[in-house]
Amino acid sequence: MNRIAPHIFWLGLLVCAVLLMAISTPILQYASEKANADLIKVRAESSKTSATLYQLQDDIAAVQKLSSEISSAEADQWLAPVDRLRVASLMEQQANETRLSHFTYTVAPEQRTSIETPGAGPQQLALSSITLSADAALDTDIYHFIDGLHAALPGRVRLQQMVIEKNGNGTPGSPNLKLTATLEWLSNGAIKDLAGAP
């Protein structure tokens, strides 16, 4: 014991130092890891909140910009469902205006289609095929009729096929041209049922 006595102080100090290091290291390590995890979590949430805020500010700017370009009433019009019967009457009206005779048409049932847009994501639309035939006296009447359909029908009308064939004897004023055509009609779609659901 007498041999150890002079060394008790520094041995104790050494043991304390080693213990301090041995105990503090894992505790501080754990606390540091937890604090880092918390910091990462807070930063992630902060980043997300900032993004939401920026998005909101962008939305406000977008609303202000869009409001100058399109009014709410116009927006309602652009998004309104189509009335297929009204479309049929528009086609008939257009045929009458361009002096077509024996005008027949078929608007095929709607097919739902999704079109990706950069500003509003995927758009759910309706695609219908329109086949029509008519007799005309002049080819220009036919051209006016096709152009009229483009302008009059709601949505977008694309001509897929057009056949103009001479079938008469060429008597002036008589309808000696036969038109058959196929169009693709992209629209908002009609109301599905009588209850008014789109």
């Binding site: 002079p6 130092a17 918390d38 939305d59 869009l66 758009q123 001479k166």
Partner: protein
């Protein structure tokens, strides 16, 4: 006192190695002890203490106690020390210490302290030293026991002075004779730089005159020469002798007739200055104590250091304690540093988290306020965006036949009339446009037409259309008459075939 005032000034003490720790060197002889402080502040001059002078012993002890951290070295210059050179056989490292201990025991059976060291000149030889029990040195050792003094032997350390004064002594035999206050005349004989023989003769009275001293010195050297023959010095003319004597005695000493190689006379003053020792005796000082003390003071490790077992144990305890304290302090500093470093890192992280949390709270608050303010505005945003996209989508231009038909009309001119027109673009892409026309020649009666001429007209028409419509590939897809080997050729009029027509296919070129 041998130290002149100017020599003991701090300036001259600067000759000493300032990096060495403060120390007291006690040169202990049979007549007394010479206390030489080195590096002690304030500077204390060396002083002589007779062994039986209680008053001065008390003064010396008080001085030691005043500087408790100064190292104490007992520098033995007594008669009661023996040396012997021994040859050892080649042994392994474990057996060699055992053999040395046995030889020491045999050589100095009555010595209180024994030690040995390897000779630099020969690994096979050791120099053994023994200190006898009855020596005033041990009284001082007991008195200073708590200071853990080390014991050095003057002949062993002084052998190096011989080499420094006489460089030729490294190769051959050399002797240095000096006079010390504490003992008497000390002879140190070296061979190839190592101590081989030492001898202490009693001092002469203080009143001894130079001739008397010269006679005593000559007698001592002559006596030693006879003994050195036994140690291997067969020819004394190879021995170089140096006498440390004051200048005023050198005439008498120079007249000595000795059968040696050379006799060099140097004063202790000159030697101390030459060796740049921290202590420089008077110019006419006859004693060389300070030369030996100064030489030892400059050495970081003495050649041989002796300790009693108890003091050695205490010394090792103190060394272990000192090293242990340093290690413990270092580990504690590292531990505290580590804790501090990691703790500061943690604190920085916590502070950053706190700051980020505060910023997040601010963002949440701002978001809530903005949401509340913008709710009426942004609510229709989705609808507006959708309507805007719908408007853009519906307004996209679609391929129409009009541009192609306009060009075709110009290309046909008055030369031909269409009987059938088919325009097709299934995919809606601009380059998917296909036009098929059936045409007849405007000024051609079917009855009188020559087939070759009609065919040529249609070919010309086709080329004309192709040249007018460079963005389209124009081909005559059906000739007006049978033109391929698979078609029948006849002059009968076909039923219903009133017009001669050909078919052209006009296809948009892919860029």
């Amino acid at each position: 006192m041998a130290i002149p005032p100017e020599v003991s000034s701090p300036v001259l003490y600067m000759f000493g190695n300032p990096t060495l720790r403060p120390q007291f060197i006690l040169m202990i002889g049979d007549d007394g002890a010479f206390v030489v402080p080195h590096g002690i502040k304030p500077t204390v001059e060396p002083f002589f203490v007779a062994h039986d002078d209680e008053k001065n012993v008390g003064i010396a002890t008080a001085l030691f106690n005043k500087h408790p951290k100064a190292q104490v070295t007992l520098f033995a210059d007594m008669l009661a020390q023996d040396f012997r050179r021994e040859a050892l056989p080649r042994l392994n490292p474990l057996d060699r210490p055992k053999l040395i201990n046995r030889r020491l025991q045999q050589a100095f059976p009555h010595a209180r302290l024994r030690a040995s060291f390897n000779l630099k000149s020969s690994r096979a030889h050791i120099l053994m030293a023994g200190l006898h029990e009855k020596s005033p040195l041990f009284d001082w050792m007991e008195r200073l026991r708590h200071r853990l003094p080390r014991i050095c032997l003057l002949p062993v350390e002084g052998a190096e002075i011989v080499m420094r004064i006489l460089p030729d002594a490294r190769e051959g035999w050399a002797m240095m004779l000096s006079r010390e206050r504490t003992g008497g005349f000390r002879q140190i004989v070296t061979h190839q730089g190592e101590l081989i023989f030492t001898r202490l003769t009693p001092p002469l009275p203080a009143t001894a005159k130079a001739p008397e001293i010269a006679e005593a010195v000559q007698r001592d050297i002559t006596a030693s020469l006879g003994y050195l023959a036994r140690l291997g010095l067969a020819d004394t003319s190879k021995l170089r002798v140096t006498l440390l004597a004051p200048d005023d005695m050198q005439d008498e000493l120079g007249e000595m007739r000795l059968p040696v190689h050379s006799l060099t006379l140097l004063s202790p003053h000159k030697v101390a200055k030459h060796l740049r020792l921290p202590f420089v005796p008077y110019g006419n000082d006859a004693f060389a104590d300070l030369v030996f003390a100064g030489h030892l003071a400059l050495k970081r490790c003495p050649r041989l250091s002796l300790m009693t077992p108890a003091i050695r144990e205490a010394y090792w305890h103190s060394q272990i304690k000192k090293i242990g304290q340093h290690v413990a302090a270092l580990v504690l500093i590292i531990a505290l540093g580590s804790v501090g470093f990691k703790g500061s890192d943690l604190m920085l992280t916590l502070l950053a988290t706190h700051k980020e949390t505060a910023q997040l709270d601010g963002l949440h608050k701002k978001l809530a306020e903005t949401q509340a303010e913008a709710a009426p505005l942004t609510e229709p945003l989705g609808k507006l965006r959708q309507a805007y996209e719908r408007q853009r989508l519906f307004a996209e231009p679609t391929p129409t036949p009009w541009p192609a038909l306009t060009i075709l009309n110009h290309a046909l001119g008055d030369d031909a009339r269409l009987t059938k027109l088919t325009w097709q673009n299934d995919s809606g892409k601009p380059n998917a446009e296909v036009l098929q026309i059936e045409a007849r020649l405007a000024n051609l009666a079917p009855a009188d037409s020559e087939r070759e001429s009609v065919m040529g007209e249609f070919q010309r028409l086709t080329q004309n259309v192709a040249s007018m419509m460079p963005d389209y590939a124009v081909t005559l897809s059906r000739a007006p008459f049978p033109a391929t080997p698979q078609e029948p050729v006849t002059n009968e009029t076909q039923k219903g075939a009133t017009l001669i027509t050909a078919e052209l296919t006009i296809r948009k070129k892919t860029p």
